[in-house]
Subunit: 100 residues, 2 copies
C-alpha cells in the first residue's frame, strides 16, 4: 500500500535559491536510485515567504525507510540542513478517495 | 504549465465517514469528466482529527477554472459544504524540483 506524506520546510530568509538547487540535486539522486519513491516534488507556497512543501509518495512504508537510509542521498539530505530555519513538519496521509 | 495546490478541509466532528463518501462520489465524477485534472486525491491526516488534505494537480490554471465550473461536479461540490467546519484553506504551489 502506498505511503504518502507532505513535509513543510521553512527556509532561512534569502537562502531559497541555494536551498532549491541543493534539493534539486537530491531529487535527481532520489529519482535515479529509488524506484519505490513514486513522487518526490518540492514546491514553493504562494503567499508564504520561505515556506516549502515536499509532496512525497512511496510504494510502501518500507520504501520510505529505504529512502531515509539510501547511501546515494544521505549527503544530499545532510546538505539541506543548514538552509532550514526549523525542524521539518510532516503530515502523514491516508488516502480516502482519488479521481485517478 | 501544470497548476498544483493543496487544500486543507476541516470536517465537523463525527461527519468524516459521510464526508469521505460524498467526496468519493465527487472524485469519480472528476475522473470521468475532467481529462485535465491530473491528480485529485483526498487524504486523512494522521494525528489531526477531522482534518483532510486534497492534493490537486491540473494541466493548467485554466483546467482548474474548468474544474470549478464543471456542471458534472457542481452538485457534488455543493454536497460537501454541510460537512465542513470552516472555509477551505488553499495553498497554491509552484514546482521547484522533482525526482520524476
Amino acid at each position: 500500500m502506498a505511503f504518502d506524506q507532505i513535509v513543510t520546510l521553512m527556509v532561512k530568509p534569502g537562502e531559497g535559491a541555494a536551498f532549491e538547487a541543493a534539493f534539486a540535486a537530491l531529487a535527481t539522486k532520489v529519482g535515479a536510485s529509488e524506484p519505490d519513491t513514486l513522487d518526490y516534488r518540492l514546491f514553493r507556497v504562494e503567499g508564504e515567504a520561505d515556506a516549502y512543501r515536499v509532496v512525497e509518495s512511496y510504494a510502501s512504508r518500507d520504501a520510505l525507510a529505504q529512502h531515509m537510509k539510501n547511501p546515494e542521498t544521505r549527503e544530499h539530505m545532510a546538505a539541506l540542513g543548514p538552509f532550514l530555519a526549523g525542524a521539518p513538519a510532516t503530515s502523514i496521509l491516508t488516502l480516502c478517495a482519488s479521481a485517478r
